[in-house]
């Protein structure tokens, strides 16, 4: 294989991987940045998204229905969890959230196992996305191109939403000083519930999008949560552009690391994280910790 086509396909691979990691990390970083909550159950929502997406797609016969409905259902569940439990903990220190959401991780893992079983489930792609295209005479899956597109669209949408809309302004204000926003007559609790739901929904969206490639399985949550934390920590906790940069960085390290040093690929991500933290303890774009 020539070097140039190889480089192009590997870069596209890395970009599609980055899109998946971005979906995983951005919800977590939004939730942390605005609510100061470390959502340990984030990986479980990712997994839940994949399974719900699978069932909806089977039930309706449409991948697109699963793609749209699954994040909404998972997001709704996240909002309900925030209203039911997390809201009572705002006076406590941050570790209480970590522990409650860890408990939720156990519960969701079992619920998924009881409802869907331990077998991995393969989400079928619609024919429009299932094929391959030839780039410089090298075959490349259409679905990976779709992932890159979806990642770009969502990233731009979130960015525009936070920067350009009134609601985005309120959300950024809440992350700066929630009490002041409350005093201005905004229902901060509503903003928080919404953000928690949106964050969980984004994780679920990542789950549905990943399902056709990795099969929906119980192991998804365990791997996803660690990946998500790595992205958020490298990028800087609570930084939206940081999570985007981190997703790209980690994806490129993973893809090229797997190619050149297959034995160390699994450790590369953690080493990268330690390296970033030693140089910048707050993460690439975070505030100094």
């Amino acid at each position: 294989m020539d070097f140039f086509p190889f480089l192009v396909t590997q870069c596209l691979n890395a970009l599609s991987q980055a899109a998946l990691l971005f979906f995983l990390g951005v919800g977590l970083t939004l939730i942390f940045g605005i609510m100061r909550i470390v959502n340990f159950a984030h990986g479980s929502f990712y997994m839940l998204g994949a399974f719900i997406g699978y069932s909806v797609a089977r039930g309706t016969g449409s991948f697109w229905a699963g793609l749209v409905l699954s994040p909404l259902i998972a997001g709704g569940f996240g909002t309900a969890f925030e209203i039911g439990l997390l809201r009572r903990l705002y006076r406590r220190d941050a570790s209480a959230f970590l522990m409650v959401t860890f408990g939720l991780t156990l519960v969701l893992g079992e619920v998924v196992r009881l409802l869907w079983g331990v077998q991995g489930l393969q989400l079928q792609l619609p024919t429009a996305l299932a094929g391959i295209v030839f780039l410089f005479d090298e075959p490349f899956p259409v679905y990976r191109l779709f992932l890159i597109g979806a990642g770009a669209v969502v990233a731009i949408a979130i960015w525009q939403f936070l920067e350009r809309t009134r609601l985005g302004l309120l959300i950024r204000a809440t992350s700066q000083n929630a009490e002041m926003v409350q005093a201005l007559g905004v229902d901060v609790n509503l903003v928080r519930s919404g953000i928690f739901g949106v964050g969980c929904g984004l994780a679920a969206l990542g789950g549905v999008l990943a399902a056709p490639m990795v099969t929906a399985s119980l192991g998804m949550a365990a791997n996803a949560i660690v990946d998500a934390f790595v992205i958020v920590i490298i990028g800087g906790m609570g930084s939206f552009p940081g999570s985007l940069c981190a997703a790209l960085l980690v994806a490129f390290v993973q893809v090229f690391g797997t190619y050149y040093f297959p034995d160390f690929a699994i450790a590369a991500m953690y080493l990268l994280m330690l390296l970033v933290l030693v140089i910048r303890p707050g993460g690439l774009l975070g505030k100094e910790a």
């Binding site: 519960v107 079992e110 196992r113 365990a222 450790a267 910790a289």
Partner: protein, 312 residues
């Protein structure tokens, strides 16, 4: 000295346990004591210094793999293998502590998680030492030095575990009641203030990580010959979370509490799994309940009903 009286009473009851308990209960109790030692070691960090480590499985796994490797590949007597495992965990912890204490709060938790995952990844890849995904199997219970074959028996091993646990408890207890422990509590309540009083808090934090890992490593080292295997599950983050559950449910910052928490965990797992295979579901709910409504934990709930004299 109501506390020490209670300590000796508990020691005598536990020492007499093999006389009255059936075999399966002894197995459960042995494992509960091993996990109790692990949870207690984590309590030094979580309860006394407010360093919420999410990677304590690293200490346990390190100890288990070290002891298992020594038992399989050398003729080292068991007590020396245990010490070697604890020592190795402690030495690794100096490095882990040095890096992780660069951060505080949630970032510290995440760093410890990353370290444990790094070891987890390493255990998968370093096949010649760790046996990769199969782990180490058939780890023998080696006799002690001078032909102490008693350690190979079930009850003999129980006494070894009990002695380690009680020794660990006495050590932790003295530690938290010493000036060193006072500085740890100072860090827990207000690190900036403790620092301004002239204490090198970073050094204290690295020390407590080291001690905590060494004891956790000892627990892991005890587990490997007890179970006869060591695998990557022992290093996985889920296990770290479970140990943290034991500490919180039992009562952080009490030393006794986490031991009870570990026993409670074992008991709940055992009882629930007899009725339902979804025991983790109920355990998750119980844990959420404890964090929401009873953060003081089992031990403080129990002792608050006793006369004030014997309170911890």
């Amino acid at each position: 000295m109501g506390n020490w009286r209670l300590f000796f009473l508990a020691a005598i009851v536990l020492a007499a346990a093999p006389l009255g308990l059936p075999l399966f209960a002894m197995t459960l109790l042995t494992e509960a004591l091993i996990l109790g030692l692990l949870a207690m070691s984590l309590d030094l960090m979580v309860g006394y210094t407010r360093m919420i480590s999410f990677g304590h499985a690293a200490a346990y796994g390190l100890g288990a793999y070290t002891c298992g490797f020594l038992a399989l590949h050398t003729a080292m007597p068991l007590p020396f293998s245990l010490l070697a495992a604890a020592l190795l965990a402690g030495v690794v912890a100096i490095g882990v502590g040095w890096v992780c204490t660069m951060a505080t709060g949630i970032s510290f938790s995440m760093l410890t998680l990353a370290f444990a995952q790094l070891l987890y990844a390493l255990a998968f890849k370093w096949t010649s030492v760790t046996g990769a995904s199969d782990g180490l199997a058939g780890i023998p219970r080696r006799a002690g030095p001078f032909g102490m074959t008693v350690l190979e028996t079930r009850n003999g091993y129980y006494y070894l575990v009990l002695a380690s646990m009680l020794g660990g408890f006495a050590l932790c207890r003295s530690l938290v009641n010493s000036p060193f422990g006072a500085v740890l509590r100072g860090i827990r309540e207000n690190e900036a203030k403790t620092l301004s009083l002239g204490y090198n808090t970073r050094l204290y934090k690295i020390s407590v990580v080291t001690i905590s890992f060494a004891l956790g490593g000892l627990a892991g080292a005890l587990y490997a010959p007890f179970a006869g295997f060591a695998n990557t599950d022992l290093l996985f983050w889920l296990f770290s979370g479970q140990v943290l559950i034991m500490v919180i449910v039992g009562g952080q910052g009490t030393l006794v509490g986490p031991i009870l928490g570990a026993a409670f965990f074992m008991l709940v797992e055992h009882v629930l799994s007899a009725y339902t295979d979804a025991w983790a579901l109920f355990f998750g709910l119980i844990f959420i309940g404890f964090v929401m409504f009873a953060l003081e934990g089992i031990w403080r709930i129990l002792t608050s009903r006793l006369p004030a004299r014997s309170r911890a």
